[in-house]
């Protein structure tokens, strides 16, 4: 194995050890674990329930059948569940690490600061949302009578992973803003609230919102564009192919912003 490969394996081993310890800590708070599991499952079912309730009086939405929308919602839930395992530290980054000064400690370890932040406070229970998402997708695929080959299912897997990474990257970029502006909540909440936008057919929104969700806060790529392609709908299905590329681009942007932020980091003064 070449030297770089060795280095990567070694790094992976370290992160795995760190991750395992952090996971153990979270599991040791059994009550919190169970409460998180219940609340996540409840929340996932609630948002699903809302979609179902919404369709009761209206029948269909701008030419989209209920099950078609559910497919997109399911995809988005799967990605979101994966992202939520690491989301706490990204949302609380400004508060926990910058204002309360935990970032000093992170910098003193000879491994990536970003990876350390993502490993800390890892949540398993939120994967309940992913599980619900799997159920929703399976249900709508059956209801729509779609006959998917292994290729389509592989595309679903790729879509879900890319979607989760896209969330991670977008919120990492927002978290890295905390290096520049000290603030307890940061600017993530309104972006977080934009997530549901990405779960609905994009064409119902006026073009500025569509453009926003395509290129600025690219949540349209999480589930909508790939979902359109999977459903064989015409129109913007072509953009599905761009999803992994957009993810990659945002990954690079996130890495750049993070580095810039770390360089700017001012510690807690005195």
């Amino acid at each position: 194995m070449n030297r770089n490969g060795c280095k990567l394996m070694r790094a992976l081993k370290i992160y795995l050890a760190l991750f395992a310890q952090m996971l153990k800590v979270r599991l040791s708070y059994r009550g919190d674990f169970i409460a998180d599991l219940f609340a996540t499952a409840f929340g996932g079912l609630a948002s699903l329930f809302f979609v179902l309730l919404f369709f009761v009086p209206i029948g269909d939405l701008a030419g989209w059948k209920k099950d078609e929308i559910l497919l997109i919602v399911g995809l988005s839930m799967m990605s979101y569940g994966l992202f939520a395992t690491v989301s706490w530290n990204l949302f609380e980054f400004g508060d926990r690490y910058i204002i309360e000064g935990r970032f000093d400690r992170v910098l003193l370890r000879p491994i990536s600061t970003w990876a350390q932040i993502l490993c800390d406070q890892f949540r398993i229970p939120v994967l309940a949302e992913t599980v619900i998402g799997v159920g929703v997708v399976a249900h709508s695929v059956t209801n729509l009578g779609l006959d998917w080959s292994a290729l389509e299912w592989a595309f679903v897997a790729l879509t879900v992973v890319c979607g989760a990474l896209l969330y991670v990257f977008v919120f990492s970029i927002l978290a890295s803003a905390s290096f520049h502006f000290e603030d307890r909540v940061g600017i993530a909440p309104p972006v977080f609230n934009v997530i549901p936008f990405g779960r609905w057919p994009q064409e119902i929104f006026p073009w500025p919102i569509q453009a926003l969700l395509r290129w600025v806060i690219p949540f349209g790529f999480v589930a909508y564009y790939p979902g359109t392609a999977l459903l064989g709908r015409t129109g913007l299905a072509g953009l599905a192919i761009a999803a992994p590329l957009v993810t990659l681009a945002f990954g690079l942007l996130a890495a750049f912003c993070w580095r810039l932020g770390v360089r700017k980091y001012e510690s807690t003064g005195s």
Binding site: G31, F49, V56, V185, V194
Partner: protein, 284 residues
């Protein structure tokens, strides 16, 4: 006697100025909070537009025209910006760090203090949060005014009652911190329950019958559905307890809210008394 003196206005002015400065210190939260509300209303506005897109002009869904449902959604969110509070989190923190025991030594009831504080905060939020949010939403979206001045007044009163009801619900959730160490899970579940069952996301009239029936036995509909229906001047869809007559609606709506205030206040008093007793036995 000087009426200004009698009302202790300078004290309130001081409170307001203090709150205002606190809010300015968290200016990012202030600005992002306003943006969040715009995001919500925008999403639902376009969703409903899409629903009505292929229907005849003036078409109704469960008794709502597009204009009415847009007004409903916008008003529900605007009202929420005023009545929303974090009483549950604040109480849980007091329970966790033990400072709740101080409440026992005060000559005033904890419940009264919490409700008064929440109303004060609500008035503050109304001035500095709801008014700008409302102004922007009125500019951007076709929100219809209430049918009469009476409805407007009743709406404001109804929002105040929503605040009191939500405060009591949050009080109960906060009390969960006595048996449970961490109430994050309970708070999240309450959040989802209220979002859906209060009629914030969707008017209760659009629910299937069984859920409408269930909702009418729960306090949540009194938080969002009642004030928004009063603003609209109708609560179509045959919910028996509100009625469709614009004036009757006001009376019924406020009565339903008042009944829930009384019921929840009693429940909270009962639970707090039990919690306080165990607190004084265990010594906090």
């Amino acid at each position: 006697m000087n009426p200004v003196r009698a009302l202790h206005l300078p004290a309130y002015a001081g409170f307001f100025s203090g709150q205002f400065r606190k809010m300015l210190a968290y200016r990012t939260r202030y600005v992002t909070g306003i943006i969040s509300y715009l995001v919500y209303v925008t999403t639902y506005y376009y969703l409903w537009r899409a629903v009505f897109l292929h229907r005849a002009p003036g078409a109704q869904i469960a008794g709502f025209t597009l204009d009415q449902i847009v007004t409903y959604v916008a008003i529900s969110w605007i009202a929420r910006s005023a009545y929303f509070n974090n009483v549950d989190r604040e109480l849980a923190e007091q329970v966790q760090n033990g400072s709740i025991a101080v409440a026992l030594s005060r000559p005033v009831s904890l419940q009264g203090t919490v409700v008064a504080g929440a109303l004060g905060e609500g008035l503050f939020r109304f001035c500095f949060f709801t008014l700008p949010i409302g102004a922007v939403i009125f500019l951007l979206f076709p929100v219809a005014p209430p049918p009469s001045l009476l409805h407007a007044i009743a709406f404001v009163l109804s929002c105040a009652l929503s605040q009191v009801i939500l405060t009591h619900v949050n009080f109960l959730v906060g009390m969960c911190a006595f048996p449970l160490k961490n109430i994050d899970g309970v708070m999240r579940m309450k959040h989802y329950l209220i979002e859906i069952l209060s009629g914030l996301l969707l008017p209760i009239s659009l629910f299937p019958d069984w859920l409408q029936a269930l909702s009418s036995w729960l306090p949540f509909q009194a938080i969002a559905f009642v004030p928004s229906s009063i603003w609209l001047g109708h609560a179509r869809g045959g919910i028996g307890w509100l009625g469709d007559d614009p004036t009757q609606l006001i009376v019924h709506g406020l009565a339903v809210q008042a009944a829930w205030v009384a019921a929840l206040a009693l429940l909270c008093a009962f639970i707090w008394r039990r919690a306080a007793r165990s607190l004084s036995v265990q010594g906090g």
